[in-house]
């Protein structure tokens, strides 16, 4: 039998008839929604709906005791806006976020630059650098609680040893400005690893040729960094910045565990105030109102980010 005839006949005997109709598993149009549907549904149910509930709570008089859900208009908002507690919290939210992000921006760039070259032990160093981010937030914060302890602070001991201070040392968490500084320090400590790693990824995506060209062109260190490297890692740094901002705006864990909002509510932020009012205090409606102030903030951040992203062609 010729080759062709042979293959033709076995082709007919070989296979069972395949399912020939296009079904949902083939259809480009329907398979997508089918695969992504469950995730979307989940998100709508657990984020979308509660979000609208929060909106409604903020204009109601509901409490953790349950029961009432009456509409009270903007009373909750007007109640809180004038209180010093709220205004401090609002102010702090911005200060903590902006200051910590500024410090992180500086340090992460420095660290990413320092990590450019390979050297022995780099792997170990990277592991150590990542620790603050992998550790649970509350756990890391407790460690700092111990470090900042007014009596036993190892920080105070070291400063005393170095002769920089006398006497007992700083009350890191007891004085308003020191407490704020401590909180910012812990934020920076927590987020520096992630920001650095993201920047490192950005650095590694720059083709080596570009650095070589700049060297040939005679660019010194600072010019090279600001005019060649920085613009190229800008898109990805913006992503890191966005995540960092969102986290610092909305975090209550560090404050809850470090200062409980003290001393005397001077380190409260919107998120922690919402928690204390709503859950600890039982006034769900007011808590929701406070928390809702976060949302426009975040929306503005996201909008700003999307505009910049559009211009620098990220997505």
């Amino acid at each position: 039998m010729s080759f062709r005839a042979q293959t033709a006949s076995t082709a007919n005997n070989l296979t069972r008839p395949l399912n020939r109709r296009m079904s949902i598993v083939d259809s480009e149009r329907w398979l997508g929604p089918f695969l992504i549907g469950p995730a979307i549904l989940y998100i709508v149910l657990l984020i979308g709906i509660p979000f609208f509930m929060a909106l409604y709570y903020s204009v109601s008089n509901t409490t953790t005791g349950g029961g009432t859900l009456g509409f009270v208009g903007l009373r909750n908002f007007s109640n809180i806006i004038d209180t010093p507690k709220f205004q401090t919290a609002l102010k702090n939210t911005f200060i903590f976020a902006l200051l910590s992000q500024a410090v992180i921006l500086l340090l992460s760039n420095a660290l990413a630059l320092a990590l450019q070259k390979d050297f022995r032990g780099k792997g170990l160093l990277r592991f150590l650098i990542l620790l603050p981010w992998v550790a649970p937030i509350s756990i890391g914060t407790i460690a700092w609680l111990w470090i900042f302890d007014s009596t036993y602070s190892v920080l105070n001991w070291t400063l005393r040893m170095l002769g920089l201070i006398q006497g007992q040392g700083f009350m890191w968490l007891g004085l308003p400005h020191l407490a704020m500084g401590s909180i910012i320090a812990v934020h920076v400590w927590r987020q520096l690893p992630l920001a650095t790693v993201i920047l490192l990824a950005g650095h590694s995506s720059i083709p080596k040729d570009i650095h070589d060209a700049a060297a040939v062109d005679g660019a010194g260190f600072w010019r090279h960094f600001f005019q060649v490297t920085l613009p190229l890692i800008l898109p990805i740094s913006l992503v890191a910045l966005l995540f960092g901002l969102i986290f610092t705006f909305t975090d209550m864990v560090i404050i809850y565990n470090l200062t409980r909002g003290g001393p005397y509510d001077t380190t409260q932020v919107l998120a922690s105030l919402a928690f204390y009012t709503g859950i600890a205090g039982g006034d769900l409606a007011e808590g929701a109102a406070i928390a809702l102030f976060l949302f426009p903030l975040l929306l503005a951040v996201a909008y700003g980010f999307l505009r910049i992203a559009h211009r620098t062609e990220i997505t």
């Binding site: 080759f3 062709r4 293959t7 033709a8 076995t10 082709a11 070989l14 296979t15 069972r16 395949l18 399912n19 020939r20 109709r21 296009m22 083939d26």
Partner: protein, 343 residues
Amino acid sequence: MATVETRGVKKHYGAVVAVNGVDLLTRDGEFLVLLGPSGCGKTTLLRMIAGFETPTAGELLIGGERVNDLPPRARKIAMVFQSYALYPHMTVFKNIAFPLKAQRMDKASIPKKVEWAASLFGIGHLMERKPRELSGGERQRVALARALVREPAVFLLDEPLSNLDAQLRASARDELQQFQRRIGTTTIYVTHDQVEAMGLGDRIVVMQAGTVRQIGTPQEIYHEPADAFVARFVGSPPMNLLQHQNYILGFRPEHFLPRGTQNGKGKVSTFSFRVTRVEYLGADRLLYGLLNGAFADQKVIARLPSTVTVNIQPETNYDFTVEDKELKFFDASTELRISARPL
């Protein structure tokens, strides 16, 4: 035993027209090449035949059966991709066996079939390797074996040689053609390389901007181009095309020879040729220059085989001739081929 037919096939992506009405009918068992520059629609056409794109209009038939609504797996086709698309996490054996498993072939018969396909390409010794451990040529053979093992009605190949280095390409081309002759399955092959097309194709479909410019054997395409685009695209160096009022005159570099050196005895036309540059390529000489006279200052190229030993110096005028039967005429506005006219 199958032919592939497209009737009025079109593909639009919004306002962009990728394929603008293609009518094609392959002959059973032929090696058909879709040739054209990038963006001409040849790959889109191939993907529609395979089933990865849906035509905006028109019909696709494989073996006489309308396949527009059939998914790729039901069309009895096999495809070899530009990157070969071998499954990186499977051994060569599993790669080749994969289609058979997909078709629920009974487990006992699979190894025999795989061996058969592998032996056709001489890759039996590579069965336990993974794709990343193979050379480019070996990967091509595995891709072909995987395509063959399904005993499809039609082979579709999407520029499979373009990832090989130049040296390997020629021998791979040779293997490919021999293989197709033996198997005798209808094959549609996409490429932008006209040398490959000429070497491999039984017939060539020249495409540009979503339409078919010409379908023909390599001889027909080369010697009787249907329009100036085909004339320019096929042949290296490209055909000389000279503008003159309402027509375009064309002749190939190898037909443009010094007076007295033409092989044939037919009538010739003479041109005054001022050579500006000579390239010595060993087997040929390429002469670049400008014409004088009726087609003054238009660039032309002449290709002299090594058997023509006339001494040619740059910056000198020579009388060159072209046999009249090798002069091709094209309409100046439509670029379509027209009959001969006096110069």
